[in-house]
């Protein structure tokens, strides 16, 4: 399945692995923070609407 990487297999695989991992982590954190803050903002605006 993996292409014929020859003797540089570890280098190529680790490069791809680390890079994809960093990008996934960055995206995941950004999405999680986005959801968290949106939820907090919505909750607060709901509360202010009900109080005011």
């Amino acid at each position: 399945m993996t292409p014929e990487l020859g003797k540089y297999a570890t280098e190529v695989l680790s490069s791809y692995g680390v890079s994809v991992a960093i990008l996934l982590a960055l995206t995941g954190i950004s999405l999680w923070r986005s959801r968290r803050i949106k939820a907090a903002l919505d909750a607060l605006e709901e509360r202010l609407k009900n109080d005011g």
Partner: protein, 243 residues
């Protein structure tokens, strides 16, 4: 008559990105997946470098975005300094971690790529060293945003830091080249158009470049929306506390 400055309005920014972001995300994912799979699986090995040449599909786009992210932050900082659009300042803040991640990827892939050639995991090659310095600039910028409580003051300070930092980043580039002149000219990791002119290598690279650009765009838009909401959250909480 609509101008780009309309999007400086936070509400309009969020409304517009509501519609645009899903498409950008789809473009980003498809370009990245296509490009990386193409590059990883369906390209031949290089005569000299073997399979490590495949690292180019990560290293070059990330290096490009590492620099472009900082340039975008510089422009956004200038817009804040001149026109004081909050969305601009927040966009710069949002872009910094993305740029830093790109720099990190460029550094790691650069080091791994060079290891078979150099025999060590790190060399103070001018290009790698410049990216290491860029990483430090990102770190300082992000740290300053985190340290200042007042939003407007933070935007003012970080935009000045970005401005001054940009000048010194360029100076450092020349300084580092002077400091380590031509030690690795031959093994430089620059994209040599004459060397890699064959479409076999070049086309997947273009796709990966597009993917990285789209990913950067998607992440920055997403994060700017988060920053806008976070700022509104802070403002509302402060207002509530004062009542």
């Amino acid at each position: 008559m609509s101008s780009i400055w309309e999007y400086a309005n936070p509400k309009k920014f969020i409304a517009t990105t509501d519609k645009v972001l899903p498409w950008i995300t789809i473009l980003a994912v498809s370009a990245l997946v296509t490009g990386l799979i193409w590059g990883f699986w369906f390209t031949p090995e290089d005569v000299r470098q073997g399979a490590t040449v495949k690292i180019i599909y990560l290293h070059v786009p990330s290096a490009m975005m590492a620099i472009n992210a900082w340039v975008m932050m510089l422009i956004a900082s200038l817009i804040w300094i001149v026109r004081r659009h909050h969305v601009s300042a927040l966009a710069a803040r949002a872009a910094a971690p993305v740029g830093m991640a790109m720099t990190l990827i460029a550094l790691i892939t650069g080091a791994i790529w060079g290891q078979p050639m150099w025999g060590t995991w790190w060399v103070w090659d001018p290009r790698l060293t410049s990216f290491l310095i860029l990483f430090l600039f990102y770190l300082g910028y992000i740290a300053l945003w985190a340290a200042i409580e007042n939003d407007d003051t933070a935007a003012d300070l970080t935009s000045m830091l970005c401005l001054v930092g940009s000048v010194f980043a360029v100076l450092s580039r020349y300084a580092v080249n002077f400091w380590n002149q031509g030690l690795h000219q031959g093994a430089s990791l620059s994209l040599d158009k004459e060397e890699n002119v064959s479409n076999v290598f070049y086309l997947p690279l273009l796709v990966c470049l597009a993917g990285f650009v789209m990913l950067f765009l998607a992440l920055v838009l997403l994060r700017t929306r988060t920053e806008i909401r976070a700022r509104r959250l802070r403002v509302l909480l402060a207002r509530e506390r004062m009542q």
